[in-house]
């Protein structure tokens, strides 16, 4: 109860509406209110106007029958499914090409980035030519190039190139045998999951032991053994519960098995080669940012060049590389929407293309599509920021 007296001693306080904290809060509230108001009036006005122009509104169309076919779908789809389902078909196709593209572009980028700094003249030159060429040609052109460059020389289905009568390559795609899972295959999955857990535990143990005693343990070989061995064991125990379905020529085309369509191959190739060139530059700048003294110090300790790169240079370079990598991943995902040019059925081609056109509901369809790209981009950013924090220099 000493407080009132303390206040008396303090200098007289300004009236509450003059306090900066109050003012800041007031203005921010007003701004938010104004934004809400503008947003609300835009929204109702849009609905009114669409109605006046006789354009349907609402999300009812999502449950209507779509009535058109889609070239590639990761989930069960045919023309009798709904427009809502075409959204997921397109979304999964976008995610597929983006995820594969990110993996491939990262691989190409790291190899080429390191190669460009290589002491070997030829290797460094090849990497330079690759980077300068592919970074400077518009992506759309590259996509078209790969598409028609991949298609033109390939034979028609009847003259397919056959590899061991199981793999077939023609201008409709690359046909590979598809696995047919029989009863009891679940145990193989369980075994694989167990192996993954075991590998994680093993890696932790090995690291702690090395930190404590300095003795190294070859986790790589043991891990590989676990990952392959356990599922294989389960497979044999259950009496090999899987067979292969081979593609076969029936009529105009191959049927059965799995197919990688040329649209996917071309888009993937173009996206990862293009983005790979940018990642290579990011990797190079990251490595150059680590002072040469570090390398010399590592050599002085007797570390071999490979180990130096892996344990000394790359971890420090990553701090520079990761933020740039994030923006390249975002670019790749957004660029995947160029798919429409070559008929790859991604979200933009299927949902913001055909579905929009057939239903005419531009506002709803575009809003949903934008929400998807925003969500994907924010997720990539969040993940990469988290990863970046982990890789920041930890001072001990």
């Amino acid at each position: 109860m000493a407080e009132p007296r303390q206040q008396e001693c303090a200098p007289a306080q300004a009236a509450f509406w003059r306090r900066p904290a109050f003012r800041a809060a007031l203005f921010q509230t007003l701004l938010v209110l104004a934004l809400c108001l503008v947003g609300y009036s835009l929204f109702t006005n849009t609905l009114n106007n669409l109605e006046q122009r006789g354009i349907s509104t609402g999300f009812g169309f999502l449950s209507q029958e779509a009535g058109f076919g889609i070239l590639q779908s990761l989930i069960d789809y045919n023309e009798t499914h709904s427009y809502g389902r075409t959204f997921f078909v397109g979304l999964l196709n976008t995610l597929l090409v983006s995820a594969l593209g990110i993996a491939l572009a990262t691989l190409i980028g790291f190899v080429m980035g390191v190669a460009r700094l290589s002491g070997n003249w030829l290797v460094a030159r090849i990497a330079t030519v690759y980077i300068e060429t592919f970074r400077n040609i518009p992506l759309l052109l590259q996509i078209m190039f790969w598409y028609f460059a991949v298609l033109q020389p390939l034979p028609r289905p009847k003259q397919s190139l056959s590899f061991g009568e199981a793999f077939f390559l023609n201008n409709r795609g690359f046909y590979i045998p598809g696995p047919v899972f029989e009863q009891g295959f679940w145990l193989v999955g369980v075994a694989f999951a167990l192996a993954v857990v075991a590998v994680v535990i093993l890696a932790r143990w090995a690291r702690r032991r090395q930190e404590a005693t300095g003795r190294q343990f070859h986790t790589v070989f043991v891990s590989l053994g676990l990952l392959l061995g356990l599922p294989l064991l389960a497979f044999l125990v259950m009496g090999m519960p899987m067979s292969w379905e081979y593609p076969a020529l029936k009529g105009f085309n191959f049927r059965g098995g799995m197919v990688i369509i040329p649209e996917l191959a071309a888009l993937l190739l173009a996206l990862s080669i293009y983005t790979g060139a940018f990642i290579a530059e990011a990797v190079r700048s990251g490595i150059l940012a680590v002072s040469h003294g570090q390398t010399e110090a590592a050599y002085a300790l007797g570390l071999r060049p490979g180990v130096t790169l892996r344990l000394v240079i790359i971890p420090q370079a990553l701090r520079v590389i990761i933020p740039q990598l994030t923006s390249q991943y975002l670019n790749l995902t957004k660029n995947s929407s160029l798919a429409t040019a070559i008929g790859y059925p991604d979200l933009v081609a299927v949902f913001a293309g055909t579905t929009l056109n057939q239903t005419g509901q531009a506002v709803e369809v575009i809003a949903m599509t934008m929400a998807v790209y925003l969500t994907i981009s924010l997720s990539i950013s969040l993940f990469m920021n988290w990863y970046n924090k982990r890789k920041q220099l930890v001072e001990r």
Partner: protein
């Protein structure tokens, strides 16, 4: 590039829908005050709408745009063209980027109602067909079980193909492109066994092939495709202008008035002819146009038969017979209400 246009057009719909209010007569007034008709056409389809290397557009669909300009301004040249893919066309019309669309567009219930559009008539009766390479050895569409088809996105073609194969319990693979050149290129590269679209367009695309002789159009027609000019809902006067511009061309053919004899016909005693030429009857007042509106169309563009023969008929590389597009009294379907 075309992706960007599409995005811009879509953004334009969102924006105009969010900010402006629709009002009656707006399009017609805007057209009159800007002094030209902004007409949406295809990105290039021989006979229907295609541009030469100097940027002059010609074709049966283009002639509808020109007829409207002749009716409104007395000058068929007062048209600006916006090339649109099938996917972009309705958004462009809804957003007011174009005043009318004349781009081999099929009249369907959905488009006429929930898309906020109005079809002003039919300038070409068509149906969907198949283009195949001759060396495929196929004589009928029923032999196409399991085949791959190159098609264009955002068309009735996509829907008809699915319907046809579903109804006949056959399987098929669609490969969908945005633009007709990509569709054609993929067909030539052998990505698909057949290209499917409205039959008239197949004839037009066939002559664009490097070797037109290598491909043929199958006899089957699997759908009804009444193609015609379209306007946005909400301006009935403008709708009437577009619709009656087409009807004037058909009536002129029926009455034997053409671009060569229109001035001589002014002396005609036939009241039907005199009404079309604006010499008696309601003249231009019903449409809010000059009395010579129909005469200007005939002078500047010609009657329907002239437009047909010049663009897609015997006077053109397409050599399409009149068939269903003959006048009703010559065994065809083209029938225009009387001008009176």
């Amino acid at each position: 590039m075309m992706k960007r246009i599409h995005a811009v057009a879509t953004a334009a719909v969102l924006f105009t829908a969010a900010t402006t209010t629709a009002q009656a007569g707006a399009t017609f007034d805007a057209v009159k005050s800007k002094g030209f008709v902004q007409c949406g056409v295809s990105t290039g389809l021989a006979g229907f709408s295609s541009a030469d290397d100097k940027g002059n557009w010609t074709g049966l669909d283009v002639d509808i745009c020109r007829a409207v300009a002749a009716a409104v301004f007395g000058d068929a040249e007062k048209v600006k063209y916006t090339p649109l893919t099938a996917k972009e066309r309705f958004t462009a019309l809804q957003s007011g980027e174009i005043d009318m669309l004349s781009r081999n567009t099929t009249w369907t219930l959905t488009r006429d109602t929930s898309l906020g559009l109005n079809f002003a008539g039919v300038n070409y009766y068509d149906g969907q067909g198949f283009l195949v390479a001759k060396n495929l050895g196929v004589k009928s569409a029923m032999e196409l079980d399991g085949a791959s088809f190159c098609i264009q996105a955002g068309t009735t073609t996509e829907l008809n193909l699915a319907d046809y194969f579903r109804a006949n319990k056959l399987s098929y693979t669609p490969i969908t492109f945005d633009k007709s050149d990509e569709t054609v290129k993929a067909f030539e590269a052998g990505r698909c066994d057949a290209l499917t679209s409205d039959q008239s367009q197949l004839y037009a695309l066939r002559i664009q092939l490097k070797n037109p002789e290598s491909a043929m159009v199958l006899p089957e027609v699997i759908s009804k495709e009444p193609l015609g000019p379209v306007v946005a809902q909400g301006d009935d006067e403008w709708f009437n202008v577009v619709r009656w511009s087409l009807f004037a061309m058909l009536n002129a053919e029926e009455l034997g008035i053409n671009s060569g004899n229109v001035d001589a016909m002014m002396e005609s005693k036939d009241p039907n002819v005199r009404r079309v030429l604006g010499l008696e009857g309601i003249k231009g007042s019903g449409l809010g146009l000059d009395d010579a509106w129909a005469a200007n169309i005939i002078r500047g563009v010609g009657n329907y038969a002239e437009a047909f023969e010049r663009n897609v008929g015997m006077g053109s590389p397409l050599k399409i017979a009149r068939g269903q597009n003959a006048l009703w009294n010559k065994g065809g379907l083209q029938y225009a209400p009387p001008i009176r």
